[in-house]
Amino acid sequence: MSEHSTYTPGSGIEKWLDERLPIIRFSKEHLMDFPTPKNLNYWWTFGAILVMCLGIQIVTGVILAMHYTPNIGMAFDSVEHIRRDVNGGRMIQSFHAVGASMFFAAVYIHIFRGMYFGSYKAPREILWILGVLIFLLMMATAFMGYVLPWGQMSGWAATVITNIFAAIPIVGTPLLELLRGGFSVGNPTLNRFFSLHYLLPFVIAAVVALHIWALHVPGNNNPIGVDVKDTKRDTLPFHPYYTMKDAFGMVLFLIPFAWFAFFAPDILGHPDNYIQFNSQVTPAHIVPEWYFLPFYAILRAIDFNLLFIDSKLLGVIFFGGSILILFFLPWLDTSKVRSGNFRPMFKWFYWLFVVNFVALTYLGAQPAEGIYVILSKICTAYYFIHFIVILPVLGRIETPRPLPTSISESVLGKAH
């Protein structure tokens, strides 16, 4: 939104720079003066919190990589060495491992915020799609990072996840061998995962830049979902109003983060990962990291063949579909009203979807037997029904509540 530029180079050197690389002008426009709706609540601080999370992962990760050895004979011990011997290593390692969980907690909040307030709707479809892409890249990165300590959970996660690709017809087996660099998970697998685990966060950073670019074209959505009409009345400059709000949100977020890292660094992990990987024995209770549980429950729920598709491929289709369907959300939701606050029926279905998602998380952690299998199937079916049936239909049958005429009216009441 360059028309809001108020930058006038102060000194001769700034003027000289501005004519060659207008980086100060750019920063002032996008990081300071950017007009931001004045009614944003704390759910809107999670974008900034996520940037902080990525920063923490990259800084702690680069330091870990200085002490870590990507070799199946030494990887496990090198992580233990980091935790025990390297100066400050205990904290660097726990901030990185806990950081991955906090990163996902923040991204789930960020995604569900977008779903409630309709932030994926026109003109923000590309912004949303880039977000889903970041989510996919994060999953790949976290999965490959989890393999690096080469514990039992690491090795079996690597085995199961690479096998998912083998379900794809025709290219499956060659693809599996390419991912693993062999017939089974071994040293070549660990080496390529380390290489990619180092690379992907920087790819994420690049997609985040596009994500923010796509945000700064239409500007932020807001809790009432009504477009900015009058920049003067409806918005505030990003700095200092939102830099402060975001900074405060970050501090609050760092409290549980620090609690986990300092006092319970292993509480989110699994004891089995402190046993070195043994390709001949699978631990009795295999569960992925908590942030993958809902999708894991969906994968497991499919234990039946359908027509010519076997249960393995079908499970993989549902598993992949549960994430890929998010790409189509902007077109599945047919309602013109963005914010859930003004959609009486959507609101209920939204919370039902949240409960269903939490239920899938719970079910993913339970053994695949008895009632859990049946419930997983019901919740999996509901997950898809929400997107494919409920959202398209709601937009047609629901009568939304009247929208405020402007952001400033919703904040200050009607003008006198």
Partner: protein, 137 residues
């Protein structure tokens, strides 16, 4: 980035069954893959033979999964045909194997009976060189 020659070189191995008592299993490595070698009891063989084909998701007779004259020996790649975990032996509802990862269950002939795995545990290509010596691969 595909498997190199040093990986491919381990394609075939020989294994001596002599020390495995009836009712015992061992897990050996072939091409980096774990392989179950089970010395089945008569009860297990009978149980496998009694299963009607119509009960099976991936129908196969017990005979087709063993070598004639060596029916007590069941040799199979240990990785679950779902996503590759190692099922636990002598467990589950069918007295065969139960997979800890997503709950697949196999019978005493290693055939899939329940859960997301689509097919029976895979019998690798192998031959008896003598009564106790097998060559796998």
């Amino acid at each position: 980035m595909n498997p190199d020659a040093s990986t491919l070189a381990l394609a075939s191995i020989e294994f001596d069954l002599g020390a495995i008592e009836e009712g015992q299993s061992v897990t050996i490595l072939w091409r980096g893959l774990p392989v179950f070698v089970r010395h089945r009891t008569q009860a297990e063989i009978d149980e496998a033979k009694a299963v009607p084909m119509s009960d099976l998701k991936d129908p196969a007779t017990d005979e087709s999964r063993t070598k004639e004259g060596h029916e007590q020996w069941l040799i199979m790649i240990a990785n679950c045909t779902h996503l590759g975990c190692i099922p636990v032996g002598e467990s589950g509802e069918f007295d065969g194997w139960a997979c800890p990862c997503h709950g697949s269950q196999f019978d005493t002939a290693g055939r899939i009976r329940k859960g997301p795995a689509p097919t029976n545990l895979v019998v690798p290509p192998y031959e008896f060189i003598s009564d106790t010596l097998v060559q796998i691969g």
